[in-house]
Symmetry: C2
Subunit: 445 residues, 2 copies
């Protein structure tokens, strides 16, 4: 039956979304049922990285959100207006909406979700937080049996990139910010990132989902990283910490044995924070994002991945589209069938029937670690090296590490090699007079 | 309208599941619509940690899976039989099924899913892999727009606990296994864990979901950790690696520019592996699990959390129940309504209307790091300490770290203190004659 998509915006994320939609092979079969029906852009003149039929491109964005044929409007234009107005108009016209617009949702979420509920449509926003990292949907679905009490995230890639470089290079904020701008990791006006405003938008959204209530953005306490100095990073390191810009939302009223069902009392805050090196968030570096969610009875789970970028963000956008399409299939199926078998949600049901072909291990290409015990004959390292070489097993290192029980211990690490070749070489080595035993063979990731 | 649950098994996971179902406050409102209708156990005599009305407990498991009133059968008894037969009978009677049984799904998945498809019912299994970590649902939903090519996981807590202790203590496998058995981290018969069989079951399930094809369990290459010695762990560490039992599923035919849509050719394997310390999986220690999923265009995402335990596993079981309940609501709503507004999926829609109460920052209880520049007066550390003490700000450390621009630099780390008290103390310290400036104030996680 197919689902018609109206796309608003053809920038980085929009282009990534189109690339998935136009190239469905080896993705979920439901992608093939998505039809890129209209694409709204600011200018028809701009040259594009992707080839689209001119007939589907328009600058008339209103015509897209009101088009009676369109099922799902995908807003990836960003900014507050006209994004907000277009989303509201799409909702008023009965369209389901997928958006990556954290700024608009954090500010106008109340208005948008009230309108969506009234109109009976979905507004999904996986791409608004954490780029491609699944975190919104796990919060809404996989973790919904829990009483959540804390969400802690590194959810701004620019500041994490700057802090990571300050940590590893010992440089000062201003010089590394300038370099990040030059390299495209920070914008010309870096305010939204370095002052924590982008992270504040995102933690407001996460808090709202985790704790089931709306958040007023001005209530979010927000400190950026301009005040973090090289000296502080150095002292923190001596004390066993790294400094990260954390966004934290914490429920305060779960300490009582008999929790009330009243509206939650929360802390919601963004600030640079000393994180002990043993904490899972301490090793989240560069432009990566990670979100730790804690609750009862789950304990602690963490989601880690690329927090931005065309591909990851588009992955989240299309996942939302597919979620809506799957539900619409169930709904239409249920509404139209007279009797017989119900139509299952194609994302939840398991329908594959073919068996995968499994490659033999001998064809595996991997690295190996192998430890030999050898009699201390002259030239034993040379003999091992030659034998591996004869079988196309290229070595990264071969080291005699010491003596064990009067035998010389030799540790070899290979480059990526065919497992079959490696095993053939090992069979020859095993019977060498100089070799007492092959003590262990392990693969290297 | 409510959903009637028939629970098979009241062991650790079953008890955790009941505790969530009977205590719905502050969880998703849909939990309140789940009715624990029948509970099947092996013996009525056994004493239980939870109080259930005797009328709902039975040893007649067949009566549960055939009960016409039951909507969803939850199988948490474990083992191959009678679990398989009961699941198949439940499906044949039109029940949706939630199971935590990785062994049964890895072996009989083909039979079970074929039956489920024929009957038009869901079989969900989030709890079968990674305990409470959301990974099955993200694979099926959040990542379904991707062409996945690799799934790499630490998915057996017992072996990760043993390897972590071997790493940190330098002990040998046999002695640490014995200690783990004594402490309850390994079973009396540890074969399924230490020989990699449990991880093989789980990676077969993950591979099947990631690559959309069935996997024959005997095709999974499986090596356990008995052969890993203290010597290998020590050498690996010298080379910059830790040793982990990894489960890997990799698609081999995605290297071509024009991927075919034929059945995937895969490697699926479990073996001890040297993992470089810079890799996100290297720092996954103890009984924690983590799964890294890679694909196009997502890049790399990782899911981390508790891989076992009553609470986390029950969180996954109830999430599956709620997913089915949500879909059934949509389906029943669509089928029964004559006109008017469609019924939205209560897990995907956003319906909360109340605002959360945000606590003032002065009420926050947190740790602080603060750096002072002071004139080198005698007793300045004492003055700072006294002032903090007067305001109930307890200190973890106070250290004069050196001189900077002729000023003495003093770094203070507090215990958990009320932010308001801390700020009041800072206001007093700021005007002390000995204090030149408060160079930075950061919070500590």
């Amino acid at each position: 039956m197919g689902f018609k998509i109206g796309l608003l915006g053809l920038g980085t994320v929009g282009t990534g979304t189109v690339q998935i939609l136009l190239n469905p092979s080896q993705r979920h079969p439901l992608v093939q049922e998505l039809e890129l029906y209209r694409v709204g852009v600011r200018s028809l003149e701009k040259s594009r990285a992707i080839d689209l039929p001119p007939s589907i491109i328009t600058t008339d964005l209103d015509a897209i959100v009101t088009d009676p044929d369109i099922d799902i409007v995908v807003e990836v234009m960003g900014g507050l207006e006209p994004a907000r107005l277009l989303i509201l108009k799409a909702i008023a016209h009965g369209k389901h909406v997928v958006t990556a617009n954290k700024a608009a949702i954090a500010r106008y979420g109340a208005e948008i979700f009230t309108a969506a509920e009234k109109a009976g449509v979905y507004v999904l926003l996986e791409a608004a937080v954490g780029g491609g990292i699944p975190v919104i949907e796990p919060l809404k679905q996989s973790l919904c049996a829990n009483r959540l009490h804390t969400v802690t995230g590194i959810i701004n890639g620019t500041t994490n990139y700057i802090l990571t470089r300050m940590q590893t290079e010992g440089g000062d904020f201003a010089s590394i910010l300038a370099d990040a701008q030059r390299l495209g990791y920070a914008e010309a006006d870096p305010t939204a990132d370095v002052d924590g405003l982008d992270a504040a938008d995102k933690i407001a959204i996460l808090a709202s989902l985790a704790f089931g209530g709306r958040i007023k953005l001005p209530d979010v306490h927000c400190e950026g990283i301009r005040q973090v100095s090289a000296a502080d990073i150095a002292y923190a390191e001596k004390l066993g910490f790294v400094i990260k810009l954390l966004a934290v939302a914490k429920r305060e009223d779960l300490t009582t044995e008999t929790p009330t069902t009243e509206t939650a009392t929360l802390q919601v805050r963004v600030h640079p924070t000393l994180v002990h090196t043993s904490h899972p968030l301490a090793s989240v570096n560069g432009v990566y994002n990670a979100i730790v969610i804690e609750g009862e009875p789950i304990g602690q789970v963490m989601f880690f991945g690329p927090g931005a970028g065309a591909g990851p963000t588009a992955s989240a956008v299309v996942a939302d589209i597919l979620n809506i399409a799957a539900i619409l299939k169930v709904e239409r199926g249920a509404a139209t069938r007279s009797n017989g078998q119900p139509l299952l949600d194609p994302l939840l049901a398991c329908s594959h029937q073919d068996y995968c072909t499994i490659a033999p291990m001998s064809d595996l290409v991997t690295r190996f670690y192998v430890r030999f015990l050898t009699r201390d004959f002259p030239g034993v390292i040379g003999k091992l090296g030659t034998c591996f070489g004869n079988h196309n097993v290229s070595l990264e290192s071969i080291v005699q590490t010491g003596l064990r029980d009067d035998l010389a211990e030799i540790v070899v690490v290979t480059h990526h090699v065919r497992e079959g070749n490696f095993r053939t070489a090992l069979d020859e080595i095993r019977v060498m007079e100089a070799v007492s035993s092959i003590a262990s063979t392990l693969r290297v990731l």
